[in-house]
């Protein structure tokens, strides 16, 4: 099940996004692309790489996808190998942006086009960004709004974070600020780490013991939120005023939202579409030169009201 | 007598550089006790392992009960009533005595075991053997001697038709050995065939109907017990006649080298004695008397709770074998597999291991010196090995013991403690070791020797201490050193 919402990528609405046509014209030769991705154990990145692969295939390009496994060293290694292979384009979705600066410099010296995604590696020719803090803020605001509207402005809140990853720390901060923005009286009673369904379950089962009155849970991704969802349902706490929100707009989350249950919201960042856009951006850079401005992908909150547009 | 029960034909077993067995044919008759004798490395253990299928012979055939056996393996051998006590330790340390005795053929149903019944039957068997060991004890908590008794109990508890014993008495003292004789006699009366391997002539003549001699992997001759004698066996084994068994004792001994005063720990109790220069001091006692514990405490292996040690009149503290070695002491332990040899390592490694300081400068080894050291001792002790790079685990039991001896001789220490030094060693080699010990004391070194072989103890020692239950119960010297006297002191 692929969680892309917009295969074409034009729905991301990013300014400066090149169309497939300009790309096609610019690249007469068959490009060789290497893509090192932060962690393929994460569904989001699987989708992102699927998008890259699909678009490259349409254009007749070669792609090598490398799994960084959450280890910056692996990515340095991979980029070194890409340079030796004399690829035309290196795409990086970094575990850690700073870690890759020196090797990106080497790639540039070797005349290779470098595109960053998610985090910018200094020296890249273009950068597609998911601003992490804003991304967290987006779901935080949904939760805060819920508290303000349905819970009289106050509630016990649990945040499912994942401080083992740098970018997610930013995101969790965004969630917190988003909630407090609309519901300054909300009480955040628990922060627990989970990035998978199973860990989400374990965390929520225990949180419910310590804080049976939790009404709102916001999670740094849908996987963790789905775990929370299972637990709240099993504990029969799925009252009409309960709120669960996640991020990434995975198909499973969308399905839960559509059921009009306690899974209330997620945020779409269209990973497959973004993957396609990465390829097109590379083509554009080769044709027209580096793009200095970050290319922001759109973030669209998905709730019951608009979920049908995203479900496949 | 009639058909042989077990007929070996032309059995050979080759290892790289070693013909462990070279075309051996032997017949074993029903109901006989048939001993096999030969020097260390003659191939005795290898031979019996081919009988039980523990190893596969390179060539040759075995007929059992008139049937040709091909592809023998231990499971099948046991089913066919061939059971064996191997020379190597073959118990399960983490299981109880009873569980070991019935290991592989537990009492109970098809799936379940009946612990109560196994314990009860084990008690019976053990008391038959005249020992008082709880069937519920874990084997790993027993001393070597008791472990051996458990092995014997295990071998006789089934209803074997052929019972093979490879040096079963090596870790035992006289009273247990006596019990073993009775058992063997009884089993023989019941019609069991017993194949018995030993280096002790006393046992061989006491038990055997027939005796087969092997040398260098070859069959030499089978003799009727009545028709032969010790010196004939020895010369068949060694290939030449051997002279006087024990070398003459020293005429006099010198000053005190080691004084032990009031030494105590949980196993030994207020022990005091003196070892003199140029002396061989024997220690006698039954299994469990605490002799091993005493020398371990002296050597710094186990902690002591009271007492002091003086070396050449100076008080010393020994808390670790390192300290003991620093005072030029050496200990040849009784349990060579666990405490003596590094089995996976080669002969050279083992021989040089305790004296690396002598072949190294600033921590760097001189390979040449090391090799010479090893080859010298291989020659001096006539260690039977294809070379100094052979792994010790591939040597015969007796030759492993020689390697451990060599390790300590190489340290050139002044005070040597031998705990059962000739256990599992053949006559020829024993004599070499005896001569060597005498030479050492001749050079004004001193030796403490623990032995469970009374004749050896008496033949070699200048003086004998007797221990019982962790305490010294007496001391004998000169003409007073008789078996009876020592035994009375050891048992009271």
């Amino acid at each position: 099940a692929c969680s892309s919402t917009n295969e074409s990528g034009n729905n991301t609405g990013a300014k400066g996004s090149p169309s497939a046509e300009t790309g096609g014209e610019a690249a007469n030769k068959k490009l060789k692309i290497g893509f090192t991705v932060a962690n393929l154990a994460n569904t989001y990145f699987v989708d992102l790489s699927e998008g890259v692969k699909a678009r490259a295939q349409e254009l007749g390009y070669d792609v090598t996808v490398h799994d960084g496994k959450g280890d910056a060293v692996q990515q340095v290694n991979a980029i070194e190998n890409f340079i030796t292979q004399k690829l035309d384009v290196i795409v990086i979705s970094p575990v850690d942006d700073k870690a890759l600066e020196p090797v990106v410099k080497k790639a540039k010296e070797a005349g290779i086009t470098v595109v960053s995604s998610n985090q910018n590696v200094a020296g890249s020719d273009a950068f597609l960004t998911v601003p992490e803090y804003e991304y967290g803020m987006a779901i935080g605001e949904q939760a805060g709004q819920w508290i303000a509207d349905k819970l009289g402005g106050t509630a016990e809140v649990a945040i499912i974070d994942y401080p083992e990853l740098k970018v997610i720390i930013e995101r969790a901060n965004g969630i917190k600020d988003g909630i407090l923005k609309h519901a300054p009286d909300a009480k955040i009673v628990a922060n627990q780490s989970a990035n998978t369904v199973e860990k989400g379950m374990r965390a929520m089962e225990t949180i419910l013991q310590a804080h049976p009155n939790v009404k709102v849970v916001a999670a740094v991704n849908d996987a963790g939120a789905l775990g929370v969802y299972e637990v709240v349902k099993a504990a029969k706490k799925d009252t009409p005023d309960f709120f669960i929100g996640g991020l990434d707009a995975t198909q499973e989350a969308l399905k839960k939202i559509k059921e009009d249950g306690i899974y209330r919201a997620t945020i779409d960042i269209a990973p497959v579409g973004m993957g396609r856009q990465i390829v097109d951006t590379a083509v554009k850079v080769i044709a027209e030169g580096p793009i200095a401005e970050p290319i922001a992908v759109n973030m669209i909150p998905v709730t019951l009201s608009n979920v049908d547009e995203f479900i496949q | 007598m009639g058909e042989p029960l077990l007929a070996l034909r032309d059995i050979s077993k080759y290892y790289p550089g070693v013909k462990a067995l070279d075309g051996v044919s032997i017949d074993f008759r029903p109901g006989e006790v048939h001993s096999i004798v030969g020097e260390n490395g003659a191939g005795k253990s290898t031979l019996i392992k081919t009988i039980t299928g523990a190893i596969e012979p390179t060539s040759g055939s075995i007929r059992y009960n008139g049937v040709e056996m091909s592809g023998m393996n231990p499971i099948y051998a046991l089913k066919e009533g061939i059971s064996a006590i191997y020379q190597e330790f073959n118990l399960i340390p983490s299981l109880t005595v009873a569980e070991n005795i019935f290991y592989g053929r537990e009492l109970g149903g098809r799936f379940m075991i009946d612990r109560r019944e196994m314990n009860a039957r084990s008690s019976q068997i053990l008391s038959q053997l005249g020992v008082n060991v709880r069937p519920q004890s874990l084997v790993k908590d027993l001393s070597v001697g008791f472990q051996q008794i458990v092995e014997i109990a295990k071998a006789i508890s089934g209803n074997a038709k052929v019972l093979i014993m490879d040096e079963p008495t090596a870790p035992l003292t006289s009273s247990e050995v006596e019990k073993l004789y009775e058992i063997v006699d009884k089993l023989k009366r019941q019609g069991m065939t017993i194949i018995y391997i030993s280096h002790k002539f006393e046992e061989i003549f006491r038990l055997s109907d027939r005796i087969t001699v092997m040398r260098d992997g070859k069959y030499i001759r089978t003799l009727q017990r009545e028709d032969t004698n010790r010196s004939e066996l020895v010369s068949l084994m060694v290939g030449r006649a051997l002279g006087q068994h024990y070398p003459p004792k020293a005429s006099r001994t010198g000053a005190a080298v080691l004084e032990v005063k009031g030494l105590s720990n949980p196993q030994v109790n207020d022990i005091s004695f003196t070892l003199k220069e140029g002396e061989i001091l024997g220690i006698a006692g039954l299994v469990g008397a605490g002799r091993t514990e005493l020398v371990r405490a002296i050597f710094g292996v186990d902690p002591i709770s009271a007492g002091e040690l003086l070396i050449r009149g100076k008080r010393v503290k020994i808390r670790h074998p390192m300290d003991a070695i620093g005072y030029k002491m050496g200990l040849i332990p009784e349990d060579r597999k666990q405490h003596g040899a590094l089995l996976n390592m080669d002969v050279k490694f083992n021989i040089s291991y305790a004296s690396l300081d002598k072949i190294a400068s600033f921590g760097f080894l001189h390979k040449k010196k090391e090799k010479n050291l090893a080859t010298d001792y291989i020659a001096a002790l006539a260690i039977k090995t294809p070379g100094e790079l052979q792994a010790v685990k591939n040597l015969s039991g007796g030759n492993q013991q020689k390697v451990v001896l060599a390790k300590w001789l190489a340290t050139q220490c002044d005070i040597l403690i031998f705990d059962e030094p000739t256990r599992g060693i053949d006559v020829g080699a024993k004599q070499e070791i005896y001569a060597l010990m005498r030479n050492l004391v001749g050079e004004n070194k001193s030796i403490i020797m623990i032995s469970s072989e009374m004749p050896e103890l008496i033949g070699m020692s200048d003086r004998v201490l007797v221990m019982k239950e962790g305490s010294l119960t007496g001391e004998v010297a000169g003409d007073e050193m008789t078996q009876e006297r020592i035994l009375t002191m050891a048992t009271e």
Partner: protein, 316 residues
């Protein structure tokens, strides 16, 4: 009984009690039936696998592939059901797959004589690849309705995974303590050559141990699948460490031949109580790691120090 003797005999159990006591005092939420069932449910997957691992380690082996078996089983069963295979059949097929993996492991370990650590590291790696290949890296959703019972259902108020785990422990206990096969598991681990010479079919014992581990890991994968309602290709990653910690904390020796199921349960519970208690106290993830490491070390120290003392006692 003097305190020292109690410590000696029940070291690890006492650690568990101390932890329970501590968390009961520190958090109101800890000592409730609900929360205790939570803990049991949360350790159930690791617990089930630990029974198989106990057998393997007792034979002086090790099975690092269990985490990947969990992953493969979860996605395999999910895919089968999505393809319309009846859940019961999918269930059985997956368990069989677990056994087959056990066979492969044992083949290399026993016939080719490669160290178990290497063999199961290799299958750990390869099987994780297979889980990814089966799913294309994406979770498998859309399981049939009733399937959630194994992971989420209750029988008489007790979660089904807990019942499964307790059943596994009970059977494991029984087999190890009361049967011939159990004796041979200890015997093979303690002295393989002696076992062979005593007529024990060593090969068979090893095959059964690793196949049991494969089977129980597959069962755990099925429970996990049902518990999270989706087949995750990453499921079970890193579980080998949790399982080994539990088993060895419970007193099973890595050298084989020593240890008991009752200790293993306790070891698993210690880790479960610790995790649960720290979440209740809202301790940060970072400090949780430090505390876990420290408790592990202290718990085993207590156990070993008291055992060392026992040896000394035995000598007197």
């Amino acid at each position: 009984m003097p305190i020292r003797a109690i410590l000696v005999k029940y070291g690890i159990y006492i650690v568990l009690l101390l932890l329970v006591f501590f968390f009961s005092v520190a958090s109101d939420a800890f000592l409730s039936v609900d929360n205790l069932l939570n803990i049991l449910r949360q350790v159930s997957i690791v617990g089930i696998v630990a029974v198989g691992m106990t057998f393997v380690i007792l034979t002086a082996g090790i099975d690092l592939s269990i985490g990947s078996i969990i992953g493969v089983s979860a996605v395999l069963a999910a895919k089968l059901m999505l393809f319309g295979v009846h859940p019961a059949l999918a269930f059985v097929l997956t368990l069989v797959a677990g056994i087959v993996i056990g066979l492969v492991n044992t083949y290399f370990i026993h016939e080719i004589q490669i160290p178990a650590l290497i063999v199961t590291l290799a299958t750990l790696t390869a099987l994780r690849g297979i889980a990814y290949i089966i799913t294309g890296g994406l979770p498998v959703y859309g399981l049939p309705e009733g399937y959630s019972f194994i992971g989420q259902g209750y029988v008489m108020g007790i979660p089904v995974p807990v019942i499964l785990m307790l059943a596994c422990f009970a059977v494991g206990y029984f087999v190890l303590e009361k049967t011939r096969f159990g004796r041979y598991v200890y015997g093979v681990g303690s002295n393989e050559e002696a076992s062979r010479l005593s007529g024990v079919n060593v090969r068979k014992i090893k095959y059964i141990a690793y196949c049991l581990s494969g089977f129980l890991s597959a069962l755990a994968g099925l429970v996990l699948l049902s518990r999270v309602n989706s087949g995750q290709p990453t499921a079970g990653t890193g579980y080998e460490l949790d399982v080994i910690i539990g088993v060895v904390l419970g007193g099973v020796s890595m050298n084989g031949g020593e240890g008991r199921i009752s200790g293993v349960i306790t070891g698993i519970l210690i880790m479960g109580v610790l995790t649960n208690g720290m979440i209740l106290l809202n301790i940060s993830e970072y400090y949780q790691l430090v505390v876990k490491g420290a408790v592990l070390l202290l718990a085993v120290s207590l156990d070993y120090v008291s055992k060392k003392r026992r040896v000394k006692v035995a000598h007197t």
